[in-house]
């Protein structure tokens, strides 16, 4: 824990017992972790609006401060001062607890992020499993929000949201298995320390599958059926306004940044950058944040580019493409990894990368063939009923 051995600990030990000092240091660390989890929303809301605006050939917010950077503060003031309407026969307990629980689950994932070799909230030896579990805790909260709102559309939106969230858990977990296999540990600090070569270069299939599953888990576009304004109003958070809605919003952005940080940790090497972090240790958290922001930028780029998926396409993509792909990926990587485990490291890296690329292009070829066959069947059906396809 980074606070041990600092002046704070020695000052507290001066007049408190060691166990109470321990407890107070833990408390301070917990408050710091929770406050760090609220920082992404400030940067990410501004970044998202600017990036998506530029992709859509407009400027985005530029009035609230230089380049619109104080827009988040303006939004926060709005959220605080908006009236909070509760639907008439809503289930009060569930309705009120849902935003608190969602934001709490999203904030708790920040405990295992390795900002720097000594600075991590809790170096659990099940680090990434804890992250996945906390991310999955938001699933039941979505159902709480939809159920407690006493609104058909919120409930339907919550059902669909839960179907999407649980479906995309599987490729997320299976894709993350591959870095765990090669790092030999589930601890986030351990995975970063073992990455001499970043795992995105060795295992592109896992990287892409984890990224796609992560986008779907946080409910971002193009998987944003959970909150599609034009389709089911606002899904499970239709009946929320004011600060409760702001807590859902905070949870979503905290989760987005969280997924980006875990992708950077597991696949892009965390705080490593060609040895720079050992010479200048204060750069390590900055490197991690920059890598995470790079992934967040890619997520926003995808958001601005792709149209939304329909629920049946989304679930079919998961169960019929991503899950078999990640399962076969584990099998292939396990076989190849054991076969080349004696060879020098360069040979290992090249062989693993080659096997991954073969798998990727093979999967895309299978997908293409299935698509062509489906299209041919469709055209035969049109022609057989005397259609006018040219």
């Amino acid at each position: 824990m980074p606070l041990k051995g600092t002046f704070l600990e020695t000052w507290l030990l001066g007049f408190l017992s060691p166990s109470l000092t321990d407890f107070l240091l833990n408390l301070v660390m917990a408050v710091i972790v929770a406050l760090v989890a609220t920082l992404p929303i400030v940067v990410l809301t501004w970044m998202e609006r600017k990036v998506v605006a530029r992709i859509q050939d407009r400027i985005g917010p530029n009035l609230a401060g230089p380049y619109g950077m104080l827009q988040a503060i303006a939004d926060a003031i709005k959220m605080f001062t908006k009236e909070d309407t509760m639907p008439a026969e809503a289930d009060r307990v569930v309705y009120n607890i849902a935003p608190i629980a969602m934001a709490a689950a999203a904030m708790m994932t920040y405990a295992v992020f390795p900002w720097s070799p000594g600075v991590v909230g809790a170096d659990l030896n099940i680090g990434v499993l804890y992250f996945l579990a906390m991310g999955a805790a938001t699933t039941v909260v979505v159902l709480m929000a939809g159920w407690g709102s006493n609104n058909k559309y919120a409930l339907l939106g919550a059902f669909r949201a839960v179907a999407q969230l649980i479906s995309y858990e599987i490729p997320q977990v299976l894709a993350l298995m591959v870095p765990i296999m090669f790092a030999g540990t589930m601890s986030t600090v351990g995975i970063v320390q073992k990455q001499e070569v970043i795992y995105a270069l060795l295992f592109p299939v896992s990287f892409l599958a984890f990224l796609i599953a992560g986008i779907a888990e946080t409910g971002r576009s193009p998987f944003d059926l959970l909150e599609a304004e034009s389709e089911i109003v606002a899904g499970y958070h239709t009946e929320y306004s004011g600060m409760k809605f702001a807590l859902f919003f905070l949870a979503e952005y905290a989760a987005t940044f969280g997924v980006a940080v875990i992708t950077a940790v597991a696949f892009l090497g965390g705080w490593r950058f060609f040895g720079l972090e050992t010479r200048l240790p204060f750069l390590a958290p900055i490197i991690l944040v920059l890598k995470a922001l790079l992934i967040v930028f890619v997520l926003m780029w995808i958001r601005g580019t792709l149209p939304r998926f329909r629920i049946d396409h989304l679930l079919a993509f998961n169960w019929k493409f991503l899950v078999p792909l990640t399962l076969i990926n584990i099998v292939v990587v396990a076989i190849v990894g054991k076969v080349v485990s004696g060879a020098p490291f360069g040979v290992q890296a090249v062989v693993l990368l080659a096997s991954n690329l073969v798998l990727l292009f093979g999967a895309l070829a299978v997908l293409g063939a299935a698509g062509r066959r489906a299209r041919r069947q469709w055209e035969e059906r049109i022609a057989s009923i005397g259609g006018v396809s040219s």
Binding site: L27, N151, I166, M177, D312, L315
Partner: protein, 118 residues
């Protein structure tokens, strides 16, 4: 000695408390003028028809069931993955057979039509 999971428990209480404090502060600041029109359930501008607690579509249950199967499989995969470096070839082949059995289960569910969104 610092127990890592005690920290996690404390973090849970702190985050729940922090969010409750945020909501409480908002409650002090915002206006509160409830009236029955505002408290009506939103249904795209029309009068609410029927009970809100709609019937649950059975297909969601099927997805949850398939999810449980694969989640248990993932739970078995975790210790194997952590010990991957030290395992002999026999253990690798054994786990691959396990994965292939579950892959066959996925193909069975697929061909049976249980993965369609009806």
């Amino acid at each position: 000695m610092r127990n890592e999971f005690a920290f996690i428990g404390l973090l849970l209480l702190v985050t729940l408390g922090l969010n409750s404090v945020i909501l409480f502060v908002a409650r002090l600041i915002r206006p509160a003028k409830p009236n029955p029109i505002k408290a009506e359930t939103y249904e795209c501008g029309i009068e609410v028809v029927g009970n809100a607690w709609v019937q649950f579509k059975a297909q969601y249950y099927i997805y949850a069931l398939v999810f449980v199967i694969f989640d248990i499989e993932a739970a078995f995969l975790f210790p194997w993955a952590v010990a991957f470096d030290q395992l002999p070839l026999f253990a690798i082949v054994e786990m691959i057979i396990f994965l292939l059995i579950l892959l066959a289960a996925l193909v069975y569910v697929w061909r049976k039509g249980d993965l369609e969104w009806v």
